[in-house]
Assembly symmetry: C2
Homo-oligomer: 306 residues x 2
């Protein structure tokens, strides 16, 4: 194989109760990338369409991630990367992660799969660090593993693949405002009340149990965030109105996607998810803020070869 075209999906990190550890993979929206083996050694970004991002390999998240793998594998060839960027940077649904994860996934395929998914995640995290300033796997993991993931530890990286209930759908709204990850991090307190922490780990435990038992109702009850949402929701205009509208249409739960500004809702069944999407659109249509929405099945597979 000399060339590969892939779909690298958007992802939702944190998932209300699981700040910094939980994530899931979307299906409808993602970057497309074409990666070609070259005789000339090295990694080049030859094309970026969609958004204005640096072509210089060492300044591009896909480039840095690809280089991390490339330098480790030290192959007898090089790679040209074309990025057809569909996920808007800064949207809170893992835009930089998708580029980084897609690049390492593609290189691994073209090299005959020498690396496992955890190793790929480690390489991708090097790229993610270019965008966010630190190595995080909470968007990388669901993209590379698919479905729901739990980052058990970062050093060494250990990712758990959680089960994906088959009738679960996500609705995303992306208000077209900017929330910088660094800012979203800086407003969080360094210490949290013990009682809130207990509530949160009770929810994480019951969320994982709900995934294993296909208990949609418990999934909804577990989608509570008493730690981060009270701070970050202030950065997202009409957050509580969106959340209320989603729950009023029987969404299981609704919360901030990653560090925002996107807001996710989870629903049992596509019909409910579509009703939720419509209700959220109606909320935002009145605000004068530009936005887009989409509904997606949970993508149990992750990155796909096209």
């Amino acid at each position: 194989m000399k060339e590969i075209k892939i779909f690298s999906p958007a992802t939702v990190a944190n998932v209300s109760c699981g700040f910094d550890v939980l994530g899931f993979c979307l299906d409808t929206v993602g970057d497309e990338m074409v990666i070609k083996k070259t005789v000339e050694k090295g990694v080049k970004i030859t094309k970026i369409e969609g958004y204005d991002l640096p072509l210089e390999t060492k300044k591009n998240v896909a480039g840095v991630a690809a280089l991390a793998l490339y330098n480790h594998a030290n192959p007898d060839c090089g790679f040209d990367i074309e990025i057809y960027k569909k996920i808007k940077p800064g949207s809170g649904i893992g835009s930089s992660s998708a580029s980084a994860s897609g690049a390492v996934f593609a290189l691994n395929e073209l090299l005959g799969k020498p690396y496992n998914k955890t190793q790929l995640s480690n390489f991708a995290m090097k790229g993610e660090a270019v965008a966010s300033g630190s190595e995080h796997a909470d968007n990388i993991a669901p993209g590379i593993f698919g479905g729901f993931t739990l980052v058990k530890s970062n050093q060494p990286l250990k990712i758990l693949e959680l089960p994906t209930p088959s009738n679960l759908y996500a609705t995303i709204i992306h208000p077209q405002i900017e929330v910088k990850t660094a800012e979203a991090r800086s407003i969080l307190p360094k210490n949290v009340p013990m009682q809130d922490a207990i509530t949160q780990w009770s929810n994480v435990g019951s969320f994982v149990h709900a995934l294993h038992t296909n208990d949609y109702s418990l999934l909804g009850e577990s989608l509570q965030d008493v730690i981060v949402e009270p701070y970050r929701s202030k950065l997202i205009p009409y957050f509580s109105e969106v959340q209320k509208a989603a729950l009023a249409k029987s969404a299981l739960g609704s919360g901030i996607s990653g560090s925002g500004p996107s807001v996710f809702s989870l629903s049992e069944g596509i019909e409910t998810a579509k009703k939720v999407e419509k209700a959220i659109q109606e909320v935002y249509a009145k605000t004068g803020i530009e936005f887009y929405t989409f509904t997606s099945k949970i993508n149990a597979e992750g990155i796909k070869i096209l």
Copy 2:
């Protein structure tokens, strides 16, 4: 049925990562209780053997729990309760819970099972409050439901039954010193570092996942407590020596049982658990502190009719 004899087992609350929410049920050690229907109405404690505890119904945890159910059911009879106390009060393996849970379980059986396990837990918590000053379900739940439990919420009470890996054994050491629950609570900080809280809920999530996937190794990796153990372990002499000895003999993990002073270890297989018990005995034999140890299968059933 006019009379019932039951075994109400000891339990381990918190389970390292799951402070205030996780618990599991033991098998080897527990209180025995004989409860008789009487013509005369009311609830009486007619006998307590083993430890010096109040016979007055309203001052006895079993009495208060039984009264909570009795007053709700308002039956045309009364009950006499005999308690053969085997779990030493203040040992940290759910002594008061066992009495409270056993009483409501037995009354429910004698009344034809009008209440479900969650309702029984609610009644039992009234008794538990007499001993600890507040209503907690973290020892009640594993006794009444059996196996591993997660208290999803206290108001309203919601208890999740987690799977019990079949080859899992617990080793308990009870150093004969007193740790008051109130004191063990008061030394805990009101706020905890965000990073530690994240580590803790990652561990709770992976612990639940490990139970569902029978992953003993992951179970061990998840048995880490960065929140409570650093404070409470100071109240237990030679805690770290016990923990190290257990882990050196391949225990999956080791931590404080409830608020101490008992220390639990979990092992895969009874042979490992017995080696762990021996190693722990050797540590404590040198200290001059009285102690006893036991090894138990995880009791998936909970309270048993004898």
